[in-house]
């Protein structure tokens, strides 16, 4: 059978046990280095800029993101309001910066959580055939549900809000990571150095923890960088559908959703939030790209 998930990750080709394995000693160093130049650096800068904007949102704009000033509905950008005001007379800049904060927060919690969950389940799957059968089928079920429908149903059950968005991302992320890690473990497990650890009498747990897992993480790392942009997208899609971050809390998706109604008469409304979403996604993508390249060379 084909290892679907293995091919899921373009940036991590099945490392031929030869030269690639020989070279992966430098992985950490190389990964770090790949982010200090070229596209990797550009990605880091983009993400960092948005992070800083989110972090220092209160300094960048004096407005509160939920504060409504009666009578200043849909003002164009200008003095007082950097990006203008929205349909509820709130400062768009404040909403975008604080929204970036929310979106990043979602990504920063959901992606690692989904990754860890995926790794745990993926590992579990490799221990017993029965566990494998069950987890694989469960993964199938989750992957077979269109993610959006999963999101809608979850949001309806749990009510919209940040925790729901996080849950949806975790639930859809975990199977992908799980598959990825599973196929990696199955591969790494057969590599000579793992056998050589078994031959010296190392117990199974030791081998798994010390050898198999660390050597299986590389493609996961690359995937995770991509998953961040996926998370940003998921958040905005859910907020767009009204099942995302709970109003009036700002989120990028929410601001975009608000702005689309006015795209023709107040086009500037949409510009700032879109720019931030694109910057984040492009940034994370460039990072993933750089990491992937570093993993390959």
């Amino acid at each position: 059978m084909s290892e679907l998930s293995h091919q899921l990750e373009p940036a991590a080709p099945p490392a031929p046990p030869g030269p690639a394995a020989r070279d992966s000693w430098r992985s950490r160093h190389r990964f770090a280095a790949s982010l200090t130049r070229g596209a990797g650096l550009a990605g880091v800068v983009l993400v960092a800029m948005v992070c800083l904007a989110g972090l220092f949102a209160p300094l960048l704009t004096s407005w509160d993101p939920v504060q409504q000033v009666a009578g200043s509905q849909l003002l164009p950008p200008g003095a007082g309001h950097l990006f203008g005001t929205d349909q509820l007379s709130r400062d768009i800049a404040a909403r975008v910066f604080h929204g970036a904060r929310t979106s990043l927060l979602v990504a920063v919690i959901a992606v690692p959580a989904g990754t860890v969950l995926g790794i745990l389940i993926g590992l579990l799957a490799t221990t017993r055939p029965l566990a494998d059968l069950i987890t694989q089928r469960v993964f199938d079920v989750v992957l077979a549900f269109p993610a959006l429908i999963l999101g809608v149903l979850l949001a309806l059950v749990a009510g919209p809000g940040t925790p729901t968005v996080i849950t949806v991302i975790v639930v859809t992320e975990a199977p992908i990571v799980g598959r990825l890690i599973r196929s990696q473990v199955l591969r790494v497990r057969e590599l000579p150095f793992v056998e050589s650890a078994r031959v010296i009498g190392a117990p199974g747990g030791w081998v798994l923890r010390r050898h198999v897992l660390p050597n299986s993480l590389e493609p996961v790392a690359v995937h995770v960088a991509l998953a961040f942009s996926g998370a940003i997208f998921a958040e905005s899609a859910m907020s767009f559908l009204g099942i995302g971050v709970r109003p009036p809390a700002p989120s990028l998706g929410g601001v975009i959703a608000d702005s689309l109604l006015y795209i023709e008469i107040r086009p500037w409304f949409a510009v700032a939030p879109l720019a931030v979403v694109v910057a984040l996604s492009v940034g994370f993508y460039l990072i993933a790209q750089a990491l992937g390249k570093a993993g390959r060379d």
């Binding site: 394995a21 992985s27 150095f193 050589s196 650890a197 031959v199 010296i200 050898h211």
Partner: protein, 549 residues
Amino acid sequence: MTDTDASLLRIENLAVSFGTRSDRARAVDGIDLDVAPGEIVALVGESGSGKSLTARAVLGLLPDGARAEGSIVLAGTQVVGADERTLNRLRGGVAAMVFQEPQTALNPVQTIGRQLIEALRLRPGFDKATARDRAVELLRTVEIPDPERRLDWYPHQLSGGQKQRVVIALALSGRPRLIIADEPTTALDVTVQAGILDLLRRLRDETGTAILLITHNLGVVADLADRVVVLRDGNVVEEAGVAELFRTPQASYTKELLAAVPRLSTTDSREAGTPAEDRVVDLEGVSVVHPGRGRAPAFTALEGVSLQLRAGEVLGLVGESGSGKTTIGRVALAVTPPTSGTVRLLGRDPRTLRRAELRALRRDLALVPQDPAASLDPLWTIDDCVAEPLVVHGAGDRARIRRRVAELLDAVHLPAAAGRRRPGELSGGQRQRAALARALALSPRLVVADEPTSALDVSVQSRILELFTQLRAEFGFAALFISHDLAVVSEIADRVALLESGRIVETGPARTVFGSPAQDYTRTLVAAVPVPDPAIQRRRHSPSEKETP
């Protein structure tokens, strides 16, 4: 033969470099080389000396990021800096290439017929039918039996030797005047290798094709080449006719290289180890059958193998690829359980042991793997790798372990600084030493060395073998030494066992077996080993003595 005016290929001051403008590394640094029509020139040198890059530069096939400078004139056309169109005219038609790995040199999802026909149709004057006829003819030339039928086969249905022949047929498809063969036989068994070398020789003799042969096997060089160019660190250190080079090497590096070549010693009178009473390994009628999976039928890897190994003894295991050498090693390490027969390791049957007892037994067993690069965890430091057996078996506190690791590294002549590096930061020879140190950490009573030097070039190989002998004297372990290189085994083993498709066909003291083989199979094997002496090889090829593998 070195008539420069008539040269087919002339390389002058070729340099190949990698990296950005500011950070350039020169892998090939000013090579001069000529190949005349009909000549076989061998390019030798240790790993990484720039042989492959030189060859690829000739066809303008350097890897991404590489840059060639200097001049390469192939049949009157300058290759360096030529555009893809010009290069494509030269490729295949003037010069063709045969690569090292027959397993991957063919497209796995196309029939060999299709690949041949596609290559032929790049040439003018071939339509589908004529190309097919020519493909059959080519396969016949390279001695593929039943070529009409084989056209529709996929690469995976052919043996390694056959695949290499198909690759050669592809190379011949454009009737090139020069064939560049980059280690064409390294991945093959000696018997198969002999066949391929034969084929190349015949090609030259019959069609006058020149051959640029790249190899680090001096036996092969002696067998085939007219002239030898020795490379080191991207430079030519010596160039001479083959007989001359072997007789009177000039450069010190050439001498070193020649000295390091293991020779099949049939008159060796090394003393056998002191055999003690207890048997370290005792296999009785062991068979290993791999159950079939899917449509693949069950496969018998070992059949009725009986084998004893006494303490302190070195038993060499030889045989062709797939004959079951590694499987015996795995049985002796209690990794693969036998399907039938009995196994006793250090007097105990591993199958009857509980988990903890088995782990205790493993303290006394160790593996020196074939490819240490793959056998040491790439993320661990050498210190940690060597310490791992000690830690796993709780052999003392941190400080003691650290001291023991230092001793071990010292024993294998590794500098202490190497311990802090990761496997990837060591050279192949150093890595192999680290693997040895790791194997010896717990003072095992049995070491299984599975082709421990096949990934190394000869000079490094000889140093490792020396070290191995020395350590055995010091630690007194018994060893199962697996190799397909008869010469290596003959140098190191007390006794040898010869395997053919899962059965032991001959055992005995090394010199007896190699000196006066009792079995046909053994004789074939011994005869196929190319001797690094052109004179002997020439004699062997005289028609009266020619062997057909």
